[in-house]
């Protein structure tokens, strides 16, 4: 979103530093990095998987060209990135719609903030994404 009133002085540096931020700021950075990674993979994926339109030989040859530990590790990173991006995206959607941040209240000391109210949700996101990443890793490397 363009903001004319508050120019983005920090630019990309602001993703990793610039203030005394809580865990949510780093979830924001990770959300962006995983999003960019998933987009890059997805654009390549469109072309790689289009090989199936040329029949089984081309498909099998293409799949053989993306075999090996490097591609397997990369695919796992894509899975883990999806797990985090999806679960954190649900948190962001809930907050966008006003869930999990509490009702507006009088600013009486000690101040209760919406960031603090949604903190358990942020921790739950990390735990669920971590569990999915472990489950996926077990499937990728021990069951495949």
């Amino acid at each position: 979103m363009e903001s004319r009133a508050h120019p983005n002085r920090l630019g990309i540096r602001g993703w990793v530093g610039g203030g005394r931020w809580g865990i949510e700021r780093y979830l924001y950075t990770l959300h962006r990095l995983t999003g960019l990674g998933l987009l890059t993979y997805f654009l390549l994926h469109i072309f790689v998987t289009s090989a199936r339109v040329f029949g089984p030989e081309t498909w099998e040859r293409t799949m053989r060209s993306v075999e090996g530990p490097v591609f397997k590790g990369g695919e796992y990173l894509v899975f883990a990135a999806f797990a985090f991006h999806a679960v954190n995206g649900v948190r962001l959607g809930m907050i966008e719609l006003g869930f999990a941040i509490g009702r507006p209240i009088e600013p009486v000391y000690p101040y209760a903030t919406s960031v603090g109210r949604q903190r358990p949700l942020a921790i739950a996101v990390l735990m669920i994404a971590g569990a999915l990443a472990i489950w996926g890793g077990y499937n990728f490397f021990f069951m495949d």
Partner: protein, 127 residues
């Protein structure tokens, strides 16, 4: 189109991706836990037999196209927002908007053509 409308579509596309990409990841990468879930021949999810079996299903053809459109929109709109945050001038902003729109439409046309054409390829191969 107003940014609020585009943002609403971005969130809606995210929900669509959550459902269909979640299904896709389960079929393709959690097949150790669910060996025959939409992999009727078992084994590798990306083997031609399993790919052909899924391609013959109208459900998969439709969901591939829907997921393609939702993921392209969600991803390219997200990247556009990141770039616009860096404060490009009006000309560059216009270039980003038009360029990403054309890129998204082009990739959607290509990917949708593949998804729609593959069932015919499988039929001709006797699959």
């Amino acid at each position: 189109m107003r940014d609020r409308t585009l943002w609403t579509w971005h969130i809606f596309a995210g929900v669509v991706i959550l459902v269909f990409l979640g299904l896709h990841m389960t079929i393709m990468h959690l097949n150790g836990s669910f060996p025959t879930f939409n992999n009727p021949f078992g084994g590798e999810a990306e083997s031609w037999q399993n790919v052909a079996a899924r391609a013959k299903s109208l459900f998969f053809t439709v969901t591939y196209v829907v997921m393609l459109g939702a993921a392209l929109y969600h991803g390219l709109y997200g990247l556009r927002n990141i770039l616009l945050e860096l404060g490009p001038g009006a000309g560059l902003r216009r270039t980003i908007d038009v360029g990403f729109s054309l890129l998204g439409l082009g990739l959607f046309a290509f990917g949708a053509w593949v998804a729609v054409a593959v069932p015919g390829v499988v039929s001709r191969m006797g699959g």
